[in-house]
Amino acid sequence: MFEIISNDILAENLHKLVVSAPRIARARKAGQFVMVRLAEGEERIPLTIGDADAAAGTISLFIQAIGASTRRIVDTPAGGFIRDVAGPLGKETHIANWGRVVCVGGGVGTAVLFPLVKALAEAGNQITTIIGGRSSRYIILADELTPLSETFLVTTEDGSLGYKGFVTGPLSEILADPERIPQAVFAVGPVPMMRAVAEMTRPQGIETIVSLNPIMIDGTGMCGGCRVQIGTETKFACVDGPEFDAHLVDFDGLGDRLTSYRQNEAEAVRHAAEDCKLAKEAAL
């Protein structure tokens, strides 16, 4: 049993949970995740370790409540328990001093991006962070990311904060400016956003790394459910990733496999709306 030390609401449907997990807190590296099962009968779901405090024996999880499992987790108050937390899983981010780096986060991808930005900043990179959301209410971790970034940009679809539009807007300006062109780009977010970023950096051959989010069961390479096509190879995102060279990822396949369990009518409706929005974003 893993105790929830605190449970704070950061934005609509976005919670930060601090969970007691001393061994994981000690072992984890940036880019790794845990498999979480709230209680008997619940799903096992992957969640990025947003931050960790080895001395306190705690890890932080940033959770976007999008479906049954995430909702029930964020509904568990501080003092409550998560039955199973296993990790840290996945490969750690390859951190180097690239020089100029652009980090792009969309939606809950921002939470996954946060530990990367932290590690990249510690390695001495000059970081431009671009965070996108539907409106100002969905912009998360701005206070945490600002001090780590040389330039911190926000985009909202309704223009309620920062640039009006998508993250791809400011990114294309940066890519077009020889003074600001980065040596590496990290992008985490919805599949269409990551695909769009990959296409934008491909012509210039800028190293681009994405963190993929396929459906996972065990997270240890045992089931093969998280397989993704990377170039000509099939990889298991839980052990070979979750980070991959964006220019080799089969985003169509990934996006498609993520819909495997979208049978329920209500879900289908909600996703239709979301896909429409994402498709617009991808078209940019």
Binding site: R23, I24, A27, R37, G41, E42, E43, R44, A68, S69, R83, D84, V85, A86, G87, P88, L89, I217, D218, T220, G221, M222, C223, G224, G225, R227, Q229, T234, V239, G253, D256, R257, T259, S260, Y261, Q263
Partner: protein
């Protein structure tokens, strides 16, 4: 006593048939198919045993269970003794009685099988083990061992790890099992379905270990949460039994379509996560009226029979050799047939085909014919030219095999591996690192429960020796 029965009378008794749930009932639920023998049936079957001096059957059992001795105790109606004999040789008799491929092991060498039917050793083993579980109060109690003050870490809670833990605890060592998943049993829980091996049996075996003082820590992934070198410095010895859980991909087109599962994923969803089996379960599973399972081993049989229970009207085994070459236990093949599973033999998949939504719609196949035996002694299949055809299917399950998972070994550079990634270990489990032992599927590649247990037992003995020297 049994010796009152003449050999002729023993020979006259016919092999007892295992009572089963009717196929039409069981192919729609997950209840255990084999109901177990009645007391009278067990006694009759036990009396068929000739108590051979040369104990041919024992040589067929990988752990050398004292077969005539436990059967004699049963025939003499001394069940506590029968249970004690069995326990002395086999830590998980209730499991082995159910899942050992007896027809190629103990029963294959039984002298009664030469002219007629062999003694049903597996049924009897199960009978005695189930009796022992129901009558813990009547069992001959073991004296608690004196604590040695030595500690051992066991990696993996499958049959090899469970066996080693029990043996070591009985010698007075402090044992901690680390298990990556959230529950115990390894393949026994996440792989082998409830209709062959009720989970209650694993729970009871685990409870026995807990009473012996074994600590079990789930959600600890060795190689990730803790490393082998951390275990080595914290414990006096380490036994690695993390299995061979890495699915082999088919590497044919269409493998990433929706509705294509590797057997491990399909079985884990249904067995471990209880998808499709309980109302309040949140783990989904894709169901289809037509399911094709590729492979011919126990895993393939478990998948196809599970698919049938989830509602498939047409559940098919697609196998590239013929039924005679299938590695699955004969009982599973028989049960699958009774449950309406179709056997599409001498057929190899060429591609998985999908519809425009990228959902599986079928399997493109090719007929095969058998040539002369290959290195493995099995007749080698080769394609029949121009024999391509399509099978319609909404779910395709790949059950062609598993290999060693590198998750743990990748973080233990001093651990010697063979070219397939299996840990190199001696007969008694010694690896290239002093004080670190290994056994079960991680050493052998996908093998059997009884071989994994045998490894756990011999490694425990070697660890005990090592700890005495240390």
């Amino acid at each position: 006593m049994t010796n009152k029965i003449s050999a002729k009378d023993r020979m006259a008794i016919e092999r007892t048939a295992m009572p089963e749930l009717p196929a039409e009932v069981r192919s729609r639920n997950f209840e255990e198919v084999n109901l177990g023998l009645s007391y009278q049936q067990a006694l009759d079957e036990a009396r068929r045993c000739l108590q051979c001096k040369n104990r041919a059957c024992v040589a067929g059992c990988p752990v050398g269970v004292s077969i005539p001795e436990f059967i004699d105790a049963l025939a003499s109606e001394d069940l506590p003794r029968a249970a004690q004999v069995l326990r002395g040789d086999n830590a998980l008799p209730a499991v082995c009685g159910r899942v050992c491929p007896q027809e190629t092991q103990c029963e294959a060498l039984c002298v009664r099988g030469v002219k007629g039917e062999s003694v049903a050793i597996g049924y009897l083993e199960r009978y005695v083990a189930d009796w022992a579980m129901r009558h813990p109060d009547l069992l001959l109690t073991e004296a608690a061992p004196a604590a040695t003050g030595k500690s051992v870490a066991v990696v993996g809670c499958g049959p090899a790890g469970l066996t080693a833990a029990g043996e070591l605890a009985r010698k007075g060592h402090k044992v901690t099992i680390f298990e990556a998943l959230h529950d115990t049993g390894g393949v026994l829980r996440y792989g082998i379905p409830e209709f062959r091996l009720p989970k209650e049996i694993i729970d009871r075996e685990v409870a026995v270990l807990s009473r012996l003082g074994v600590a079990i820590e789930c959600n600890v992934i060795i190689g990730k949460t803790l490393t082998i070198s951390e275990l080595s410095s914290e414990f006096d010895a380490v036994f690695i039994a993390n299995g061979a859980g890495l699915p082999t991909m088919l590497n044919i087109p269409g493998e990433n379509l929706k509705g294509v599962y590797a057997a491990n994923e399909f079985l884990t969803r249904v067995n471990l996560m209880e998808a499709g089996r309980r109302e309040d379960c949140n783990t989904p599973i894709i169901k289809s009226r037509e399911v094709a399972v590729i492979g011919g081993g126990n895993t393939a049989m478990d998948c196809v029979r599970t698919a049938r229970r989830l509602g498939a009207e047409r559940a098919m085994i697609v196998y590239r050799r013929s039924e005679a070459e299938m590695p699955a236990r004969v009982e599973e093949i028989k049960h699958a047939k009774e449950e309406g599973v179709e056997f599409v033999m001498l057929t190899a998949p060429l591609a998985i085909i999908g519809n425009d939504q990228r959902w599986v719609s079928g399997l493109r196949c090719q007929r095969m014919e058998l040539g002369p035996p290959d290195e493995s002694g099995r007749r080698k299949p080769s394609p029949v030219p121009g024999s391509e055809f399509e099978l319609s299917a909404g779910v395709v399950i790949n059950a062609v095999g598993t290999s060693a998972n590198p998750l743990l070994t990748a973080t233990a550079p001093d651990l010697a591996l063979n070219k397939w990634g299996n840990i190199v270990a001696s007969e008694t489990g010694e690896t290239s690192i002093p004080g670190v032992f290994a056994g079960g599927d991680i050493v052998r590649g996908g093998a059997t429960v009884i071989l994994a247990m045998g490894d756990g037992k011999s490694a425990a003995a070697a660890i005990d020796e090592y700890l005495k020297r240390k």
